[in-house]
Symmetry: C2
Subunit: 140 residues, 2 copies
DNA sequence: GGCATGTATATGTAAAACGCACATAGAGTA
DNA sequence: TACTCTATGTGCGTTTTACATATACATGCC
């Protein structure tokens, strides 16, 4: 949130709230692994596929750095491909360790989905207390 | 993932995968705001409530620092409370800006929930390609 | 009194993740 | 030649977060 906007009292209503990014850390990793489980691919193509999972405005640097890191961890492997027309590509494929890692992510995400449902049950289900009730509770 | 474990080929199967944290960045913020929307509270109590939303092993430092940051941003406000027995508490309440912020978070989370459903549709719904098919696809 | 325990808040530091800007280069085409 | 599209990468600073540590009040117990 920007300071100049919150001063008014009501707060900002525009679309620009700072730090609201409703996806987990390293979300790119499971997305890449899921893509690679379907078919082998390379950075530039994976970037387009990632757009469908919340990475509409993806920075190339982030993707390529992530891929290198993943390879270092052994969850993907790559071969340098120079045969096709255009610039050379680094073709990636998922490893067995990568599949295990993806499974682990899936379990973790499933758990988190339940937590989010909890959140929404409280958020939508129970309306916030009226001013009077809140004031009493405050004195409590 | 640890290197020594991924060398075998199959990869680790234990519970210790590095960097898998399936909750969104700043998840603590909407959790606190939701709690404060119900009733005013203070750090120590908020910590216990956050446990129900994926913060079972919460570090106090993280929470208190987050609360201060949130106050600086104007989405919560606090008063120093010395009346009760025990150490003094900093009582927090949500502001109007905070409610707007929470609403924004909720929309963002809803969006992300759909993305996760997409993920699971691909993950569970469509089984991974068999080895033969993958090999063909690899050669393209 | 002295001491342990539970409650309550806070800082210091360092690593990891991430966004943004920028760099490099092959291939086709006008 | 110059321009564009494809393709891969590095440098750098900010933010987020985990972990360790510090402080202090209140209560009960010996």
């Amino acid at each position: 949130m920007n300071n100049e906007e919150s001063k008014g009292g009501v707060g900002p209503r525009g679309a620009e709230f700072r730090g609201v990014e409703a996806r987990p850390r390293n979300w790119l990793v499971p997305v890449i692994l899921l893509s690679l489980r379907e078919w082998n691919s390379y950075g530039y193509e994976l970037m387009e596929r990632a757009a469908a999972f919340g990475f509409e405005a993806m920075n190339p640097g982030t993707l390529y750095r992530t891929l290198r890191q993943m390879e270092k961890e052994g969850i993907v492997e790559s071969t340098w491909e120079t045969s096709k027309g255009g610039p050379a590509r680094r073709m990636y494929s998922i490893t067995d360790a990568g599949r295990a890692y993806l499974d682990f992510w899936a379990k973790s995400l499933e758990q988190y989905q339940k937590t989010m449902e909890n959140f929404f049950r409280l958020y939508t289900g129970r309306p916030p207390l009226a001013d009077e009730e809140r004031k009493e509770r405050k004195g409590e």
